[in-house]
């Protein structure tokens, strides 16, 4: 449970998940922000108006998933690194998970890394498809990971394997 160990429960996640129909249509954001805190950059960043206007700065983001085009601009703007874009249309066997990443060295496109879940466990191998970083993103990179479709709701982080380490 988030309050005791930092891990959201299945029920926490279910409340934030885009519908299966929307997921089937293409990239879309999942905002894993569960607590009312005074923070609002995501809402101001979204150019699609998919993150609905806040009544109060403590609101958690409410996403109109139909308006979200999965552009991922919000990923690097969230101070909590809590926004992720999922794309189940990537291929028949793999889905894309786009995650914020603030560690060096950055993995390189094509590299195989460990797909890590919300508890910090390596759960599968993931292939780095793209890394976006740069001046504008101010040191928060966004990494596109191709993972087995069944792992797209699990993987939220990645780790470059140690030399000789074999993953999942």
């Amino acid at each position: 449970m988030l309050a005791t160990d930092g891990i959201p429960t299945a029920a926490d996640l279910a409340a934030k998940m885009p519908s299966p129909e929307r997921l089937a249509k293409g990239p879309v954001v999942m905002a894993e922000c569960f607590q009312r805190i005074p923070c609002d950059p995501c809402m101001h960043t979204c150019k699609q108006g998919a993150i609905l206007p806040f009544q109060d700065i403590n609101d958690t983001p409410v996403v109109n998933h139909d308006r979200c085009n999965g552009c991922g601009l919000c990923i690097a703007r969230c101070p909590g690194l809590a926004l992720f874009v999922l794309d189940y249309t990537y291929s028949d066997t793999e889905a894309l998970v786009k995650i914020p990443y603030e560690f060096l060295p950055l993995p390189a496109p094509g590299q195989t890394v460990a797909g890590v879940n919300r508890s910090g466990e390596a759960v599968c191998t993931a292939r780095v498809v793209k890394v976006t970083a740069g001046e504008k993103m101010d040191h928060t990179a966004v990494i596109w990971l191709a993972v087995p479709r069944t792992m797209a709701m699990e993987v939220r982080h990645c780790r470059i394997p140690e030399r000789g380490e074999s993953i999942g």
């Binding site: 005074p38 700065i57 909590g80 508890s119």
Partner: protein, 363 residues
């Protein structure tokens, strides 16, 4: 008594976000301000914050703390009405309203017409056997070494305290290549914002709520620590011990406001645990019980940078008005700032602050 006393309009003690915004606001109204900060460059806590700040977009949210510091300190340095004294410490606040200042071994005195105290807060410590072993630090000290001076004092850390500071410093240590063995928290719940906790958790750091340090061990320096579980009455449960071999323990168990100058000035202080300890009684204009002496930021109650900036601006606005410098849009500016403070504190995260303020706000 000193021979040379320099008369100034407004003196701001402390150049963190609260002091900088106080100086900028007062200067914008036309007042002349001297800002005194004991660090080599102003910015306060912000200079070591490499993470993106939460808060409102209007107050630089999503920017990294260190960049916010650069921006507002730059604006203060460039303002013709503001004189910034760095590496200068206010060491005394005397009955006649004179401030004693030390800078590079030189002592001098200021007699300001208004004083804004924005000295921030200091880290608390924790009692446990062997807590004096080398290798046990305040989390802020390690953060300063790593992020300001580029010195890595540790390889493997046990973090004590799962508030925002403990969790954020843990994250920054991971970024610096340090292993964080665990975060230990005596309270049954994580105090940090959950997004920050989730971020270190998925980076592989376990968080033990309802646990505390039983003892540290090591011969000449720290070699490890034993933690144990606390029951619902806060009593340790024998048999639940866990042993962590670590070279460093970071303590992040709360801050207490730095109110010594205010105490010396004769301001009435009240103990408000929700605000971190003894804090001055003040009114909505941030004026303390001593006329002409204002307080803002963590010195007024441990909170956050966004609130510190707004409080600073309010204190600066009113201190300037007291000297006859009234901005044409004074009323609307004041109302806007008060509204911002109100909205920052309106959510569940502001509950503690609201309870604390209820005890210290006068008239």
């Amino acid at each position: 008594m000193p021979q040379n006393i320099r008369f100034v309009e407004i003196a701001v003690a402390g150049g963190g976000p609260a002091g900088l915004c106080a100086a900028l606001e007062a200067a914008a109204a036309g007042a002349r301000v001297v800002l005194i900060d004991r660090n080599e460059k102003p910015g306060g806590q912000l200079v070591k914050q490499t993470h993106r700040f939460f808060g409102s977009r209007a107050h630089h949210a999503s920017e990294r703390g260190v960049n916010i510091a650069r921006e507002i300190a730059g604006a203060a340095a460039a303002h013709p009405n503001i004189e910034v004294m760095s590496a200068a410490t206010v060491f005394g606040f005397y009955e006649d309203g004179v401030l004693g200042v030390e800078q590079a071994g030189r002592i001098f005195y200021l007699k300001p017409s208004r004083v804004i105290v924005a000295t921030g807060a200091a880290e608390k410590s924790l009692a446990f056997p062997n807590n004096d072993l080398p290798g046990i630090y305040g989390a802020g000290a390690v953060q300063t070494m790593v992020n300001v001076y580029g010195v890595l004092p540790c390889r493997r850390v046990l973090m004590v305290g799962a508030g925002n500071i403990g969790v954020i410093v843990s994250y920054q240590l991971l970024q610096a290549g340090v292993a964080v063995a665990a975060i230990v928290e005596a309270a049954p719940r994580i105090g940090a914002y959950w997004v920050h906790a989730a971020k270190v958790r998925r980076a592989g750091v376990p968080i033990y709520t309802g646990h505390t340090v039983k003892r540290a061990y090591g011969e000449r320096e720290l070699a490890g620590a034993i933690i144990w579980q606390l029951d619902e009455n806060g009593q340790p449960v024998p048999g639940t011990e866990k042993d962590f071999a670590v070279d460093t323990i970071c303590l992040s168990v709360g801050l207490s406001p730095l109110v010594e100058l205010l105490a010396q000035a004769g301001c009435r202080l009240v103990y408000a645990p929700q605000l971190g300890g003894h804090v001055p009684v003040r009114n909505a204009e941030l004026e303390t019980s001593m006329p002409g002496v204002y307080v803002a930021g963590d010195a007024a109650g441990v909170e956050e940078a966004s609130a510190a900036m707004v409080e600073g601006a309010l204190a600066g606005l009113h201190a300037a008005r007291g000297l006859g410098y009234v901005q044409p849009d004074f009323e609307s500016r004041r109302a806007a700032l008060q509204q911002q403070l109100h909205s920052l504190r309106s959510g569940p995260a502001g509950e503690k602050i609201r309870a604390g303020l209820a005890q210290v706000l006068a008239g």
